[in-house]
């Protein structure tokens, strides 16, 4: 069961719900819209991907199908780019 967790060392700037993540040591910058930011914030090293998907699906029931596809894809991208790690 994949439990995504944040990578330490990111500087987080929030503007109108969107976030910019800066990791100077890794020369990495990530800009995300509000929904991407929500997913990143929910990756706390405790919730599984399924739990995050379920939570967002409950918050946005009309978009359940999209969320089922979007959440794992975003998390995999963030892991592959070094913005999250898998516990």
């Amino acid at each position: 069961m994949l439990v995504p967790a944040p990578i330490e060392g990111f500087q987080i700037e929030t503007l109108d719900g969107e976030i910019v993540l800066l990791h100077p040591a890794r020369n990495l910058i990530i800009h995300s819209n509000q929904t991407g930011a929500l997913i990143w914030h929910l990756c706390d090293g405790i919730r599984t991907v399924d739990e995050i998907t379920e939570l967002l699906s409950a918050a946005y029931p009309d978009a359940r199908d999209e969320i089922q596809a979007d959440v794992p894809a975003v998390i995999q991208t963030l892991i592959s780019r070094g913005a999250l790690r898998s516990k």
């Binding site: 060392g9 040591a25 990495l28 819209n33 409950a58």
Partner: protein
């Protein structure tokens, strides 16, 4: 793969959780509708980069380690950041033998960018004059920085 059954979450409760995780301006940061998550990932512009990541500095070596059974090795990274994992390797010369911790391991930096390693010497094989305990610190993840820090404790006698 089947998802495990989970308790149903009400929309109200789910929105509460999202409001909490979204931060200080919570409600403003939670969108009304789901939109496709957008991510732009890139590298920092040159003026914002730190060319080699963090810099590692071990604590000062002690040429007069008149200790009994306990040493404390330290290291810090700059700029300070928490959660950067440092690896230590302990080596010895002479008769002094380490009881704990393991001779190699990892420790994450604390919020001040520091780590501290308590080293206990085997009471039956303590320091003798000229014995050394050397602690070498390196980044566990090479992308966090380069270089290493070495702290050497050289015994001038048994301080017990």
């Amino acid at each position: 793969m089947k998802n495990k059954p989970s308790a149903k979450i009400s929309r109200r409760d789910a929105m509460k959780v999202l409001a909490v995780v979204a931060g200080a301006a919570a409600l403003a940061n939670v969108p009304d509708k789901w939109t496709k998550p957008g991510l732009d990932i890139g590298v920092l512009p040159a003026h914002a980069q730190t060319s080699s990541g963090y810099t590692l500095l071990a604590g000062a070596s002690d040429p007069n380690a008149n200790y009994c059974f306990n040493l404390i090795s330290t290291a810090t990274i700059s700029p300070a950041a928490s959660g950067i994992v440092l690896r230590y390797v302990i080596t010895t010369s002479g008769t002094v033998t380490i009881a704990s911790p393991a001779l190699s391991g990892t420790i994450p930096t604390d919020i001040s960018g520091s780590v501290s390693l308590n080293i206990t010497v085997d009471s039956s094989l303590p320091f003798d004059v000229g014995d050394t305990v050397t602690v070498t610190w390196t980044f566990e993840n090479a992308s966090d920085g380069i270089g290493s820090g070495i702290q050497v404790f050289t015994s001038s006698g048994n301080g017990c």
